[in-house]
């Protein structure tokens, strides 16, 4: 059995305590240990952004973090966006604008957009395009995602 460590962290407002192998990636931890499978794994080398979550409020690639590095951290995944049955404005806007097709990249985009809008309240289209340039989508061609984020930024 490879070395293990105990970690304690908050995810979507809930506290968890787990013992994990030190080499377990944060993406795998969230998916396998916490059963939050909304965060997806697309490349495991930090390019596609499907695994994006918020780590202490910042958008990060969870495939490039180890679970043990999240000890004491405050995480948010896509499962933390909606409030019960009430969708987050970003989720609502994505639905409105058909900003998802297969949906595999969607959680990553939502988390990136969530962090972006927390920082930038009235973005231009160019700023939105740049903000999402670290997330890959194969289905939509990006335009509806940009429109959805702009819609959400206007409080729509």
């Amino acid at each position: 059995m490879t070395p293990q460590r105990s970690i304690q962290l908050r995810v979507n407002g809930r506290t968890y305590e787990r013992t994990v192998e030190v080499r377990l990636t944060l993406a795998d931890f969230v998916r396998e240990e916490l059963h939050l499978t909304g965060t997806h794994v697309g490349c495991e080398h930090g390019i596609c952004g499907a695994c994006t979550i918020l780590f202490n409020g910042e958008a990060v690639r969870s495939c490039l973090l180890l679970a043990v590095q999240a000890d004491g951290a405050d995480l948010m995944t896509v499962e933390g966006l909606a409030q019960g049955e009430a969708l987050h404005p970003l989720q609502q806007a994505f639905h409105e604008h058909h900003a998802l097709q297969c949906g595999f990249c969607t959680p990553g985009f939502l988390m990136t957009a969530c962090a972006f809008l927390q920082e930038t309240s009235n973005p231009t289209e160019a700023q939105v395009r740049e903000a999402i340039s670290g997330n890959i989508c194969r289905c939509t061609g990006y335009a509806p995602i940009v429109q959805a984020i702009l819609l959400a930024s206007r409080g729509g």
């Binding site: 990636t25 043990v68 590095q69 340039s133």
Partner: protein, 294 residues
């Protein structure tokens, strides 16, 4: 793509980290931002026996201004923090302006300035920037501390002067010369990618539009950043008109010995090296005319 097994250490003190390096040398690898190391570990191209997670060493994340005007940046400072720091914007506007070109925001949130420097990908922006700015790197081991100049630090692909028992703790950028005008040009496949070829230019012009001092640093042109000497010599003391810039571009191209890879031939990097050098110089000149507006 899961990492091979390793021992994990997360020191709370620098001395502890250095002690691990002293004991394990090559078998230990430092984990800072992880944006370069984790992909390699996930692909099992890097298999350290001991992973030293230095993210708890808060004292290595800082940006401060010395009394001499030098900007000191801790190795563990996140790239995003450097990007957003007003201290950097004021006291090293070139550094501030290049930061957004590094990868994407998710990478800069975790990636550190020190990590990019030590990883030493010759197609990355920061190493070339450090060479252009004549930065100095503070290296520490359990036994000693030393400072290595950027010009002596980058040896070849992914290889620096750092010893196995050493850690980069800080980067020192000499005081910014307010008369510097700068230019930055890179050719990438996509924004945020490593460059096919790129150039950083610094110019100091006098009131008669004669070049007093010039620095050029090229990246993506071989194993390490290159400061094309002949080209820099051609700039000095000259009025930088189109003819001179063309000469400089040709001199840059002639001095480069780039490698070929699947993205670009050596000839491409040579030719376009000259082009980006000239464009970086033109951008710097444009600033000079605009009296320093970015």
């Amino acid at each position: 793509m899961k990492p091979a097994p390793f021992e994990y250490v997360a020191p709370m003190e620098i001395a502890e980290a250095l002690d691990v390096l002293a004991r394990h040398g090559d078998a230990a690898k430092i984990l800072a931002g992880g944006q370069s190391l984790m992909p390699l570990m996930n692909m099992r191209l890097a298999r350290p026996r001991v992973l030293v997670d230095i993210n708890r060493l808060a004292e290595l994340a800082y940006i401060s201004l010395g009394t001499d005007g030098a900007l000191a940046v801790g190795a563990l400072t996140r790239q995003r923090a450097v990007e957003r720091a007003s201290l950097v914007r004021t006291h090293n506007p070139l550094l501030a302006s290049v930061m957004p070109y590094l990868g994407h925001v998710q990478i800069r949130n975790r990636g550190t300035i020190g990590g990019s420097v030590v990883h030493a990908d010759p197609a990355a922006e920061l190493p070339a920037l450090c060479v252009a700015l004549e930065a100095a790197f503070v290296l520490r081991s359990a036994a000693r501390q030393r400072t290595v100049k950027a010009a002596d630090f980058f040896l070849t692909y992914l290889t620096t002067a750092i010893e196995p028992d050493e850690m980069l703790v800080g980067i020192r950028f000499p005081a910014w010369n307010p008369q510097w005008r700068w230019g930055f040009q890179e050719v990438c496949r996509r924004q945020g990618d490593f460059a096919l070829v790129g150039a950083v230019a610094l110019l100091q012009m006098d009131e008669d539009a004669i070049c007093q001092a010039a620095r050029l640093a090229m990246f993506g042109v071989g194993g390490a950043p290159v400061r094309p000497q002949r080209a820099e010599e051609l700039l000095s003391g000259q009025r930088l008109d189109g003819r001179v810039l063309d000469q400089v571009a040709n001199a840059v191209a002639a001095e480069l010995e780039p490698d070929a890879d699947m993205h670009a031939s050596a000839e491409y990097r040579q030719e376009v090296g000259g082009v980006v050098a000239r464009r970086a110089l033109e951008a710097a000149l444009g600033q000079a005319r605009g009296r320093g507006d970015r």
